[in-house]
């Protein structure tokens, strides 16, 4: 029933305006209009700046996505959009735009949870991904370990009690003037540096699968403030050591969760999953423990709308919904 159907997906939960088009299993278009330039000078995402930019960009982005895919709006069969969680002022733009397109075209509309989007993203490149699997979702807004028991049944077994992993990168990067977003900036500066140079703390939390990153950022700032004037530290080594501390923390708790849940497949997503050190460590771990590792490529790890298309499609397939079913149930909510 989904053969030869075209899904148009929208994602505007944070600072990326994203639109994708899928036909069957083929990702025809995956457009992302990044707002990095707008937020760079603030060293972080400014919600009001982000929602203004979404409102200004989304219509033109749709136009170029349709052009690029050679698709007419009237050919679209299903419209999907992130409906949360995220920045409220940003979400409303994509969600209302998408829903009013569905309404005008009299096509079914599906709201998709952003995290379910990340969980489903590996399906684009690896349609063989099947639950149960354990996913590590890490970005500037979330740090979660999710046990996907089956599609639709998501068990959050670990999360951060303070800052997200991406925030730990962003905040230190802002302090040091390394650039925004912090993750890629610190990775680049630390490339080739000695990651064992500084032994930053690996914080513990009371729940064994929970994360904490605010102490790490503070420790790094104290470290810099405590440096004697005549003993500067290598920027490379400092960045590499900081990155290593974040990646180590992410890995050690995730590894524990993998062992305890005894899943055979592991996955991940979110902006920090584009970090090559984290990917490398996950690969080594998967190989040693003989687990299947199905990660989305870096481009599909960061926020995008292709993951919204695939999550919508996967939802229709696993719940065996026909397009008529959702047309009845979801255009008005």
């Amino acid at each position: 029933m989904l053969e030869d159907k075209i899904i148009l997906g929208f994602e505007t939960s944070c600072d990326e305006t994203a639109i994708a088009i899928m036909r069957n299993d083929e990702l025809l278009v995956n457009k992302i209009s990044s707002q990095i330039d707008l937020h760079e000078k603030f060293g972080g995402v400014v919600p009001e700046v982000a929602s203004r930019a979404h409102a200004e960009m989304i219509r033109n982005l749709l136009h170029s996505a349709l052009n690029e895919g050679g698709v007419e709006l009237s050919e679209v069969d299903v419209v999907a959009s992130t409906d949360g969680p995220g920045l409220a002022g940003s979400l409303v733009v994509g969600y209302n735009f998408a829903k009013s397109i569905a309404w005008s075209l009299e096509k079914p509309f599906l709201g998709v949870d952003h995290m379910v989007g990340h969980l489903s993203a590996p399906l684009i490149e690896n349609p063989s991904l099947k639950p149960p699997f354990l996913s590590l979702l890490v970005s500037g807004g979330h740090t979660q370990i999710v046990l996907v028991e089956e599609w639709g049944k998501y068990n959050l077994i670990g999360t951060t009690i303070d800052d997200a992993a991406g925030e730990a990168f962003d905040k230190l990067s802002r302090y040091c003037g390394f650039g925004f977003p912090g993750g890629p900036a610190i990775q680049k500066i630390g490339d080739g540096g000695d990651e064992t140079k500084i032994d930053f703390p690996r914080p513990k939390t009371s729940n064994k699968f929970d994360y904490s990153f605010s102490g790490l950022k503070t420790a790094a700032i104290y470290y810099l403030q405590g440096l004697p004037d005549d003993q500067p530290i290598s920027k490379k080594d400092f960045a590499a050591s900081y990155q290593e501390a974040i990646v180590d923390s992410l890995m050690s708790i995730f590894e524990k969760a993998v062992k305890e849940t005894n899943v055979s497949t592991i996955s991940g997503g979110g902006g920090v999953m584009a970090n090559s050190r984290l990917r490398e460590k996950l690969m080594i771990f998967a190989e040693n423990e003989n687990k299947d590792l199905l990660l989305p490529s870096p481009k599909l790890s960061t926020d995008n709308a292709a993951m919204i298309c695939i999550a919508a499609k996967n939802n229709l397939i696993t719940n065996d919904l026909g397009l008529e079913d959702i047309r009845l149930s979801s255009i008005i909510s």
Partner: protein, 234 residues
């Protein structure tokens, strides 16, 4: 053929369908979150009237000033509908719409729209036969400055818009000032101005439609932003 008109810039969210005259309209007071129900409100109007989406000729929308989230929802919904149906969007300024609605007055018309944080968007107009002409440029004004503005000359004035949110006796009781309707922008006010813009082709290209925020975005810089002198070597 029909036109859809929307206003989402304030406390009252309204939608209306017009042919030459009003066919049907609805209005509700928005509370937090309810602005995302605009599309449901529109759907109800179409259901009630039996009008088909394909019979729409244009969408008129209130492009501000006013509450940011509401304005963005109005823009997103207008753009979604117009992109899908291939029809034009006509943005209408809310201050203009309020003043136009009061154009039969002989007084100077002062349009006031709440933009939160104790500030108002403000613009004055002179009534003309069949319309209004801007007497000043629109500006963002605090209550104190509004008080000064209103009492600085002895012109007879008509206040329209969100004057009911003004908690200042001096403005409200000024002997030269008359408090009048409309008290807020409605889809009908928007239509009355939008229809003229549409008929005379005075509306921007689809890609050039902007919301009139009248204020720069609120940016509170996190305190970590203060870049310290860091003792690095490369």
């Amino acid at each position: 053929m029909y036109k859809l008109s929307l206003s989402t810039s304030g406390q009252y969210i309204s939608a209306a369908i017009f042919e030459e005259k009003l066919v049907s309209s609805s209005i509700f007071k928005s509370d937090k979150g309810s602005t995302s129900l605009l599309l449901n409100q529109i759907e109800e109007l179409f259901k009630k009237t039996g009008i088909k989406k394909k019979e729409l000729d244009a969408v008129y929308f209130d492009n501000g000033p006013g509450y940011y989230t509401g304005l963005r929802i109005g823009l997103a919904v207008s753009q979604g509908i117009c992109s899908s149906l291939g029809i034009p969007i006509i943005p209408v300024n809310g201050l203009d719409a309020l003043a136009f609605a009061a154009h039969t007055s002989h007084r100077k018309i002062c349009s006031i729209i709440d933009i939160k944080r104790n500030e108002f968007a403000y613009c004055t107009y002179n009534p003309l036969p069949g319309g209004v002409a801007k007497a000043t440029e629109p500006e963002v004004i605090t209550l104190d400055n509004l008080e000064i503005k209103i009492s600085e000359d002895s012109d007879k004035k008509l206040l329209v818009g969100n004057w009911d949110l003004i908690d200042n006796r001096k403005i409200l009781n000024d002997s030269n000032t008359k408090l009048a309707d409309p008290r807020f922008v409605t889809a009908e006010n928007i239509f009355n101005v939008g229809e003229r813009l549409f008929q005379s082709n005075k509306y921007p290209d689809f890609n050039e439609i902007q919301i009139e925020y009248m204020r720069e975005p609120d940016v509170t810089l996190p305190k970590e932003n203060l870049v310290k002198m860091v003792n690095f070597y490369d």
